[in-house]
């Protein structure tokens, strides 16, 4: 089986969904040239410039037009380049896309996918590096997805496009080149739909539950071997979806291990780790053998200089240290 990159996995998913459903189209800056990271390469040749549409640098209009086009029965995939830039389209996403179905009493739906790449990536500083996923989990109406592997980027992007709700789809920029196996055959409809809201168990273990998502999952995986050498067998859950999030899987794992460590790249304060920690404290208190622990970024912007940028990263070494301390080894 040949390996596919995280980036190519998304291109394949989008192409398959565009072949499957003529109402699917994508729109954003530079898409005709393949998109800022090349995620759309080859699509304009197959589907033409109407369905793979360039756009002016008008984030509010890209998102707002997608809302209108979705209400009219199409399924737009919106490219925002960087989640940081998507802040220029917050009204359109939060006040319009997320609310239209509800405030119009169910007369319409807004099946759009907003692709908003997140994360620290090659010294890109404060406006091209943020992980803002927790903001969107706060908004009723939105689905929030943060895939960490090529296989999941393929499966979940397909699921997001088929979803009738507006989806905030956050790929991590540092993962574009990550290689992995993809299924040779397209999964069946049920497998695609079932992926939404379910966590992936990336590693099995009995001593400690580590919940993570996006690129931080790979830091957790890197910490697992040294932790095991210290006698701590970590179970690693890749949440994949932040809303809805797989509470059942997290609670079951915590009840088994008695310990929860949540790891994310985003700022710890007000991060989604807080939601998970609070939920586990409410529902699994009796099973806990140690206080719940969160690892996230300090509440500081992300710098350009590599040594300054590194100061806000959550690393495998930090995860190892935190995990070992929780188990007391």
């Amino acid at each position: 089986m040949s390996q596919t990159s995280y980036l190519q996995a998304s291109t394949r998913a989008l192409a398959e969904e565009m072949r499957r459903d003529r109402d699917v189209w994508c729109v954003g800056e530079d898409l005709g040239r393949g998109g800022v990271f090349g995620q759309y390469k080859g699509l304009v040749e197959e589907f033409g410039p109407q369905r793979v549409s360039d756009a002016p640098i008008s984030e509010a209009c890209i998102m707002g037009a997608a809302v209108g086009a979705a209400m009219m029965g199409t399924r737009p995939v919106v490219e925002m380049r960087f989640s940081d830039f998507a802040l220029c389209a917050i009204d359109e996403l939060v006040n319009q896309a997320a609310k239209a179905r509800y405030m119009f009493g169910g007369q319409t739906r807004v099946p759009l996918v907003a692709r908003e790449p997140i994360g620290i990536w090659r010294n890109s500083a404060a406006q091209h590096s943020q992980s803002l996923e927790s903001w969107y989990t706060h908004i009723p109406g939105l689905v929030v997805i943060c895939p960490s592997t090529p296989a999941d980027n393929y499966l979940l992007l397909k699921a997001a496009i088929r979803c009738d709700d507006p989806v905030v789809y956050m790929e991590h920029k540092n993962l574009w080149g990550l290689l992995g196996d993809l299924p040779a055959q397209e999964p069946d409809d049920a497998a695609i739909t079932a992926a939404l809201g379910t966590a992936r168990r990336a590693r099995e273990g009995a001593d400690l539950t580590i919940v993570s998502w996006s690129a931080a999952v790979h830091e957790c995986m890197a910490a697992a071997a040294p932790l095991a050498q210290r006698g701590v067998h970590a179970e690693i859950l890749d949440l994949r979806c932040l809303w809805p999030w797989d509470k059942a899987a997290v609670f079951a794992s915590v009840r088994k291990t008695g310990r929860l460590l949540v790891v994310h790249e985003a700022v710890s304060v007000g991060g989604f780790g807080a939601e998970i920690a609070a939920s586990v404290a409410e529902h699994c208190h009796a099973a806990l053998k140690a206080p719940v622990k969160r690892l996230g970024a300090p509440r500081a912007p992300i710098a350009y200089a590599p040594n300054l940028e590194d100061r806000v990263r959550v690393t495998a070494a930090m995860i190892e240290a935190a995990g070992a301390a929780m188990v007391g080894s």
Binding site: R51, S58, A65, E92, N95, Q96, P140
Partner: protein, 332 residues
């Protein structure tokens, strides 16, 4: 004195007068319902601006698309929405256009192509661009009409949406319903340049400025503009000048303008003007009075019917949020 118009289509003008009376009666009834504690949230009456609905929105076919503003009752009625369902929405009842979930500022009736009023000024401009974009992608013959106020021209989506419509050659009529006020501030005092039409022209849109209180002249211009957009699939801009006789909201005493100013504008009331034109053309005063009385009676009955309906069942608070992550399964 008003001189009889030689080309007056009396039946069409009477229908427009009837519609304007219905809109005014709806607004006045809603304001009474607010005083009675039936309407609960803010409403933004369009008294004095009825000709925009009667002259512009009536150019749309049923399957054409309309997007409106927080001051959208008149536009919505003109698009063919049911007045009782609208009044139910204003008082938050079962059977409202939006099931009581939207209220006045989110009035919508997708059955008649009314894709929503909007609580955010100018937000409908980019949504309209997308609706027209979908029409183009699907190869439909429909067109889109997007109405916004003069305050909206200072928001970014105005620039982004008009540029988008022109770049992608989309069939939209942008209508700036200019009542002179951005909420309660005079728009001119906060707007640089030569106004809405000049901004549209700078983006390459054909643009017309018309007296929005002369419903017959407005209709004639709108008919040309809509026909051209329908045929040529290019956006155009219509700057319609009018005046809001009521407050910004029904509760606004409008102390930012003098009583003399408002009184002067009453002379230009579009209903009074059309009524006078029809009287000069030989329509009996009793027939004209009848239109007003019919509208008032209709809206009294509308309010009676609306208030007889219950509030929606409380479990409805959690419906129509989303399929994946539905709050009926997990709200916390």
């Amino acid at each position: 004195m008003t001189i009889a118009s030689p080309n007056l289509d009396r039946d069409a003008a009477l229908a427009q007068l009837a519609l304007m009376h219905r809109i005014r009666a709806f607004e006045l009834t809603a304001m009474q319902a607010l005083e009675q504690g039936l309407v609960l949230g803010a409403i933004h009456p369009s008294i004095g601006q009825e000709a925009v609905a009667a002259g512009v929105v009536t150019q749309l076919r049923r399957d054409d698309v309309l997007l409106s503003t927080h001051r959208g009752h008149g536009h919505t009625l003109a698009k063919g929405a049911d007045a009782t369902a609208m009044m139910r929405e204003l008082i938050g009842r079962e059977g409202g256009c939006c099931g009581g979930k939207g209220g006045s500022m989110h009035i919508a009736d997708f059955e008649v192509g009314m894709l929503g009023a909007n609580g955010v000024v100018g937000a409908n401009i980019v949504i309209a661009a997308g609706a027209a974009h979908a029409i183009k992608l699907k190869g439909d013959a429909r067109i889109v009409c997007c109405i916004f106020g003069d305050g909206a021209i200072n928001r970014g989506p105005f620039l982004e949406g008009l540029n988008w419509a022109k770049v992608f050659a989309l069939p939209i009529v942008f209508v700036c319903e200019d009542n002179g006020f951005a909420a309660t501030t005079r728009t001119g005092s906060m707007s640089a340049g030569d106004g809405p039409a000049a901004r549209a022209v700078s983006l390459g849109l054909a643009s017309r400025t018309v007296d929005g209180n002369d419903v017959l002249a407005l209709t004639e211009t709108a008919r040309e503009v809509f026909a051209r957009v329908r045929a040529e699939r290019e956006p155009e801009f219509l700057h319609v000048k009018t005046y809001r006789l009521s407050g910004h909201t029904a509760a606004d005493p409008a102390t930012y303008r003098s009583a003399e100013e408002v009184q002067a504008h009453r002379a230009g009331d579009p209903i009074t003007r059309l009524r006078e034109t029809l009287r000069v053309a030989g329509v009996a005063a009793a027939a004209l009075d009848g239109l007003a009385l019919d509208a008032e009676r209709e809206m009294r009955e509308v309010l009676d019917a609306a208030r007889a309906t219950p509030f929606p069942p409380s479990e409805r608070a959690f419906t129509d949020v989303q399929d994946v992550g539905d709050p009926r399964l997990e709200a916390y």
